[in-house]
Amino acid sequence: MSEKKKELAFEAAFQELEETVQRLEDGELTLDEAIALFERGQALARLCDEKLERAKLRVNQLLPDADGSYREVPFEMEA
């Protein structure tokens, strides 16, 4: 399993952002809660945006080993 799944993936951040907006728009909230939600939402939006902006596509190749197992190695596209 890839390590990438451990940190907050884009999908999770994006969904939490949607939920946060929904709660801020519709929920019964104290002012402090509203401000906390707003700040959380802002951070999530920034995170999502940065992830989209900075991501660079990675390509691995799945290769069989002699013992029948498989390993992934970075794959360089031919120019």
């Binding site: 399993m1 890839s2 990438k4 799944k5 993936a9 884009f10 999908e11 994006f14 952002l17 949607e18 946060t20 907006v21 801020l24 728009e25 909230l29 002012l31 509203a34 401000i35 707003f38 939402g41 802002q42 939006a45 999502c48 945006d49 992830k51 989209l52 902006e53 991501a55 660079k56 596509l57 990675r58 390509v59 691995n60 190749q61 799945l62 290769l63 069989p64 197992s69 498989y70 992934e72 794959f75 596209m77 031919e78």
Partner: protein
């Protein structure tokens, strides 16, 4: 052929043939009649590779059919060309039907083709349809069993040739649309006899040894034969058996393969498969920005609501505040004091008027006013008492006499009482 011997050439006679020469036209016609009379040549199927295909302005098609040993000139009349869905291209193997005859002006024999089709294609089509029907009956292509694609795939398996343009197309589209995804290429041949088993192994390896969220099975455009590996039953079964959803992108828009029917989503090309596999970065960013705006808007609304509630409370508080009462009382005091001032001034004026009146009256009653008229006030010189009777003085006593503009002292010389006063 009746050529009469004329004895002109003994040498010719040695062969027992007519010494009479034939015209070229006669020879050619003779050959043509031979060919035209042969039932095999008049209803002929011939297979070979097309070359030098040329369609003239008049619409007739000319080409050569050849194999590794011989070639055959072919002509196809316009009327027959029009009945074809398409004409073959140079280099393609075809099966042609027609008759052999002679083109007299050139003295050549040719194949007058009335129908031509790609060799083997009919057989492949039949196999394709048969396999499709069999697998459909087996409910391998059940639309109800199709899995939906993940919205935000983290890892994307790609089954294709590592050297093919299809892979480059897929990688380019993924990099442009959603570079967050990580590509796991499971390399395979995509044509030839080895291809089907390799494709199956590549799909299985991704399922068993990786955590990809979906798999793209792709190959660029090619002839039906070149795409044939994707019409393999084993490939179809591997796609259906895949743990994660499979997107097929094989060939061009017009090409449908068994793999397409087996896949959860069919894309017309490898690029299109990549487009379907991931969301679009631009759209996502627009959505994220929109969410940011909604966040700000929602917070603003909540703050405005709170401010309004606060204003309301402050107003309510102010209504209950003693400040108002105090101000009100102070005003009353002001008003009262103002009113009392007016009254007081009025009273003073009144009193002053009364005083003036009294003073006036006092003036008129004052004895000094009578002095003006010549009266005098006489007081006793020692006691200062006003004298109103002769009884009050004796001769020799001093008296003070007050007149209009002063006083003078005098001494009583004599007294004389009036009779009336004695009678009393």
């Amino acid at each position: 052929m009746n050529v009469e011997p004329n004895g002109r050439s003994t040498q010719l006679n040695l062969f027992g043939l007519s010494p009479e020469p034939m015209t070229v036209a006669q020879v050619t016609r003779y050959v043509r009649n031979l060919l035209d009379g042969d039932y095999v040549l008049q209803d002929l199927w011939a297979e070979g590779e097309v070359s030098n295909l040329k369609v003239t302005a008049s619409g007739h098609a000319y080409f050569t059919l050849k194999d590794d040993q011989a070639s055959l000139r072919c002509v196809m009349w316009r009327s027959d060309v029009r009945r074809q869905d398409s004409l073959p291209q140079d280099g393609q193997s075809v099966l042609a039907h027609g008759r052999i005859s002679v083109y007299e002006p050139a003295g050549t024999y040719q194949f007058y083709v009335d129908h031509v089709q790609l060799a083997g294609i009919g057989r492949l089509h039949l196999e394709f349809e048969a396999l499709k029907q069999r697998l459909t009956k087996e409910v391998l292509f059940d639309p109800m069993q199709k899995r939906s694609l993940p919205l935000f795939p983290i890892r994307m398996g790609v089954v294709t040739s590592p050297t093919a343009a299809a892979l480059r197309d897929i990688v380019n589209v993924l990099a442009r649309r959603y570079p967050l995804v990580q590509v796991v290429l499971s390399p395979t041949l995509v044509q030839g006899e080895q291809a089907p088993l390799q494709i199956v192994a590549a799909i299985q390896a991704l399922n068993k040894h990786t955590d990809v969220d979906a798999i793209i099975v792709a190959r660029g455009g090619g002839s039906l034969e070149e795409l044939w590996a994707f019409n393999d039953e084993r490939v179809a079964r591997a796609i259906v058996a895949s743990r994660v959803p499979v997107i097929s992108g094989v060939g061009h828009e017009v090409d449908f393969t068994i793999a397409d029917f087996a896949a959860d989503v069919r894309a017309p090309t490898p690029s299109a498969a990549a487009e379907l596999a991931v969301p679009d970065r631009m759209e996502l960013q627009a959505t994220v920005h929109g969410q940011g705006m909604r966040l700000s808007g929602a917070l603003q609304r909540r703050l405005a609501e709170r401010r309004q509630s606060l204003d309301y409370l402050v107003q309510a508080l102010q209504r209950c505040s003693p400040v108002g009462r105090i101000q009100s009382l102070r005003q009353q005091v002001d008003e009262l004091s103002q009113a009392s001032g007016v009254w007081l001034r009025h009273l003073l004026a009144l009193r002053r008027e009364q005083l003036n009146g009294l003073a006036g009256r006092l003036t008129t009653l004052s004895p000094f006013a009578t002095l003006e008229r010549g009266y005098a006030i006489v007081r006793h010189g020692d006691t200062g008492r006003v004298l109103t009777s002769v009884q009050q003085v004796s001769v020799g006593e001093s008296i003070a006499v007050r007149v209009r503009d002063g006083e003078f002292d005098a001494t009583v010389g004599s007294t004389k009482a009036e009779k009336e006063a004695k009678n009393e």
